[in-house]
């Protein structure tokens, strides 16, 4: 296929300066389109990826400025396949690569998520080593190494060298990554910004040999290119080590990779983590729970959560002979009886062939589902952290006087099971009493570091009446106090507000469950704070009594000319009377 010159820079494996001078375009926040799609109509010059020389685009523009000929043939000439790298470049903000700081975070995050999921699936307590080295002014080398099961040789090129490849996307169970973009996007980003391949060492067991691979992506075909594949010595029994070079920058503080790793340690008490930060210091987060999270099961979708388009495509792909068996095969909690009620309520024939269903009939089917009472979906697709474990995880990174936590029972939004967990740490070292509380949000054990304001979790925290629990709170703000709040939402499908997975959408049931969890923790805190206040009052009372009663005795002695013994008796009796009295 003859590619127009226009794409030369992109298709070839030259490095790109994604953030350098010249690229100031603001992209509309569109939903990412499937990677292989033809562009309709006028081919907008793709994102001008400012090449170091910066002249390719200018030429292309001139080439296109002929007299207008809007014929179908002319347009057809411009319609062509989008290369994967072009798609990536255009949509990088949706994938978490908006800027150099965030790119570093996203890369580490994808690698850590993968490692944790792999370890847990294999039943191994994860022990991770994360390194971030600065190699040049705006270059970093990221290394993430796990003690997971390793990856079989055949899979390695696809996992690291092909975008939109994975098992999680099609699977309805709680897992960290969900979009199937993952580590290959990070690799692609590294490749586009530094020209270097992703380097992987993997070993699947002590008897197997460790393999070293270098993988690139053929950015026009979305296919892996293995540039190196050899057997190496590796002093690890099993595990995977991923090394990515990328253009990035590093900043400390909130939303940094330091913050991300610390929070990951909070939400994963069973994780042992060694982190070599860019400064060279090693930070160790020890494991505080020796129990693996119980394994989440895959479930079928629940009928309440399905939408028209999805239902249509499910019908289309179905191999079932009729909708009655289609419903039973494809959905959770639908048996023969429920299937009959749905079809009855939808006023359809049970013998209707799924592939033959018209749009109107699918609408009817949806209506039928809505009118039928169906049992909630099974919740074994969820794997909560657990109240005690969450508290232990929090205590690992936050030094506080008081901790409390709760893990709520599963609930359902739009047919998706989910559950909420929350923890509080109060009187936290390094946080003043009039500081606003610090809120840490998690979804499926992954910290959410951006878009706090848009998140259902933040809204629920703000809408909780913290004054009832002995804290102060301004209208529309987080509570004030030396307080850290942790909220975790676990779901087979977390309702994120956007593809970058940074904020949870405000479904009423989700808001309600978060609020209930916070209220439960708040009550525990309130009890503790009030108890503290009572003790303080008792101390003050005792002080009061001790400091003033002697003067009552003294005055009475002076006025009545009493003996010192009498004075003492007065003081003792009065002290006793007041100490026994409850009234302050």
């Amino acid at each position: 296929m003859a590619k127009p010159k226009l794409y030369k820079n992109v298709v070839q494996e030259d490095t790109l300066d994604l953030f350098g001078g010249g690229t100031t375009e603001v992209e509309p926040a569109t939903v990412p389109k499937p990677a292989l799609e033809t562009i309709g109509k006028e081919a907008d010059p793709p994102v001008p990826p400012a090449t170091p020389k910066g002249n390719g685009n200018a030429k292309a523009r001139r080439g296109g400025s002929k007299p207008r000929k809007g014929s179908a043939e002319e347009q057809a000439k411009k319609q062509r396949e989008i290369s994967i790298s072009e798609f990536f470049t255009k949509n990088r903000h949706l994938l978490g690569f908006d800027n150099p700081i965030k790119s570093l975070l996203t890369t580490i995050k994808e690698a850590v998520d993968n490692s944790l999921d792999a370890c847990e699936e294999a039943g191994v307590l994860p022990s991770l080593r994360v390194e971030a080295h600065q190699t040049a002014e705006n270059r970093f080398k990221v290394i993430v190494q796990d003690n997971g099961p390793g990856i079989v040789r055949a899979q390695i090129p696809k996992i690291f060298g092909k975008l939109l490849y994975g098992s999680k996307f099609h699977n309805l169970k709680q897992s960290r990554g969900q979009q199937g973009i993952g580590i290959s996007a990070a690799g692609m980003y590294g490749q586009l910004t530094t020209g270097k391949p992703v380097r992987i060492i993997s070993r699947i067991g002590p008897r197997a040999q460790a393999h070293l691979y270098e993988v690139k992506i053929n950015t026009s075909k979305n296919e892996p290119i293995v540039s190196r594949d050899e057997i190496v010595d590796w002093d690890v029994d099993h595990g995977t080590r991923v090394e990515i070079n990328l253009e990035a920058s590093y900043k400390r503080g909130r939303r940094s990779i330091d913050d991300y790793l610390e929070l990951t340690a909070v939400a994963n008490p069973h994780l042992e983590l060694f982190y070599i930060e860019p400064g060279g210091d090693e930070i160790h987060y020890p494991r505080v729970s020796d129990e693996l999270p119980h394994e989440a099961k895959s479930i079928k979708p629940h009928p309440y959560g399905v939408e028209l388009g999805i239902l249509m495509s499910m019908l289309d792909k179905s191999k079932a002979r009729n909708i009655r068996s289609f419903l039973q095969d494809e959905f959770a909690r639908v048996g023969p009886g429920i299937a009959d009620s749905i079809i009855g309520n939808a006023m359809l024939k049970p013998t209707l062939r799924p592939k033959r269903a018209t749009r109107d009939q699918v609408e009817q089917l949806l209506k039928g589902i809505a009118e039928t009472k169906i049992m909630n979906p099974p919740t074994n697709c969820l794997s909560p952290i657990g109240a005690d474990e969450l508290e232990a995880g929090l205590a690992k990174v936050v030094d506080a006087e008081f901790y409390t936590s709760i893990s709520r029972k599963p609930s359902v939004y739009r047919g998706n099971p989910f559950l909420v967990e929350a923890a509080l740490a109060w009187n936290v070292q390094g946080q003043k009493a009039d500081d606003l509380a610090v809120l840490h949000r998690f979804a499926n054990r992954v910290p959410l570091q951006y878009q706090q304001g848009a998140c259902a979790i933040s809204k629920s925290v703000i809408n909780t009446a913290w004054k009832n629990y002995g804290l102060s709170q301004s209208r529309g703000a987080l509570p004030a106090g030396s307080l850290v709040i942790v909220v975790h939402i676990a779901s087979a499908w977390v309702p994120f507000t956007s593809e970058s997975k940074e904020a949870v959408a405000s479904y009423p049931e989700v808001l309600k469950q978060i609020k209930l969890a916070l209220q439960d923790c708040g009550r525990q805190l309130g009890i503790y704070i009030r108890k503290g206040k009572r003790l303080a009052e008792a101390r003050k009372k005792a002080d009061y009594i001790k400091s003033y009663i002697p003067y009552i005795g003294e005055a009475l002695r002076e006025i009545l000319e009493l003996s010192e013994g009498k004075e003492k008796e007065i003081i003792e009796t009065l002290t006793d009377t007041l100490e026994r009295s409850r009234k302050f």
């Binding site: 003033y548 009552i552 006025i559 008796e569």
Partner: protein, 362 residues
């Protein structure tokens, strides 16, 4: 030695407290409420009288400090009376610095406790051995005061016409004084400036009167002095103050019927026979006086008096006068009379006013 009645009262109260404590009970002191809300105007006796509202201070953990302070103040008072000594309010405050944790931080705290003790026993603070810092007031005119030389105990005759351009100073305690006078009235004046003018021009000679400078709200001693003089010698009392709500509701009213804060003492510290010469709201228009607009505090004071002051509420004339002043929205000072000439007050205003004392406001 005969026990002083005040010491007896103090001892009885202390004994009660002691018995309560040793009985394992929480003793309680009952204070009359010291506020305008707890007084009524007694027109027959001509002063504010207590309505009988009491506040109880039970000895609890929260009140243990003020309880201790009250008892220590009583002990100090007993000592002063027994030793025939006195302490000023300020001195009492400094004495408290020996009381460790029970000491007072600021003088207003000790003043309040002192006022409480005073009200508790229904005596005045001089009887408790405490004396105020404040000056009593100045006197000039047709009056001879009989006092005693503190060092020799000899009688002294003080002729208030013989102070030249100066004046006789009212002592803090006036109970021992006797008077000789043929004056036809006493003129109680708000400001020292006006007093100076009248003294300078020997107005007391022209009008055959006694001039008293109150210097703002009259002190207890000043009120008691005027009262005793007026009672003994049966002389009418005319009051000459600024034409503003403060002059009327604070200075004049306190002189005539006493204060709400120490109502248990008003019987002695008031001058029911006083009447209001000026400056009245009517004077402002009648004498075409220069004015200042009423400030917010003035308006509030006048409105408060109309609503809450039992004295103002008793007299329709005063309600009318204050309402007129609020409506006019202006006030006039005594010295505004100088607009018509410096001695206009002596040559015109006072003589014209004094022609018809029956028209003075009550």
């Amino acid at each position: 030695m005969v026990k002083n009645p005040v010491v007896k009262k103090i001892k009885n109260q202390a004994r009660e407290v002691e018995t309560g404590i040793l009985g394992g009970k929480k003793p309680c002191l009952k204070f009359p409420v010291r506020s305008l809300a707890n007084v009524r105007y007694d027109p027959r006796r001509g002063h504010f009288a207590m309505k009988g509202g009491k506040k109880e201070r039970t000895l609890t953990v929260a009140t243990v400090k003020s309880f201790a302070q009250t008892l220590k103040m009583m002990a100090l008072s007993k000592e002063l009376v027994n030793q025939n000594d006195i302490a000023t309010k300020r001195e009492a405050y400094y004495v408290s610095k020996n009381w460790g944790a029970a000491r007072f931080r600021e003088q207003p705290e000790s003043d309040t406790v002192m006022d409480d003790v005073e009200a508790l026993f229904g005596v005045n603070r001089e009887q408790l051995g405490f004396v105020p810092e404040e000056k009593g007031g100045d006197v000039a005119g047709e009056l001879v005061v009989m006092d005693v030389d503190p060092s020799t105990g000899k009688k002294l005759r003080i002729d208030c016409t013989k102070f030249g351009s100066g004046a006789y100073s009212i002592p803090i305690s006036v109970e021992q004084l006797d008077f000789e006078t043929n004056a036809s009235f006493i003129l109680a004046i708000e400001t020292a400036g006006m007093f100076q003018r009248l003294v300078k021009h020997s107005y007391w000679k022209t009008a055959n009167c006694i001039l008293v400078s109150m210097g703002g709200v009259p002190t207890r001693a000043c009120r008691r002095f005027i009262r005793r003089l007026a009672d003994d010698k049966n002389v009418p009392v005319y009051v000459f103050v600024d034409g503003d709500p403060y002059g009327i509701t604070n200075i004049y009213r306190t002189l005539k019927v006493g204060s709400g804060n120490a109502a248990h003492l008003n019987e002695y510290f008031c001058v029911p026979q006083a009447s209001f010469l000026g400056i009245t709201p009517k004077d402002i228009t009648e004498y075409d006086l220069p004015t200042h607009p009423l400030k917010e505090v003035d308006k509030k004071r006048a409105q408060d008096a109309l609503k809450n002051d039992p004295f103002v509420k008793h007299y329709k004339q005063w309600q009318k006068a204050l309402q007129t002043m609020i409506n006019m929205g202006v006030r006039a000072e005594q010295q505004a009379l100088a607009k018509h000439g410096l001695n206009y007050v002596i040559d015109e205003y006072l003589p014209r006013k004094l022609e018809k004392p029956q028209l003075f406001l009550p």
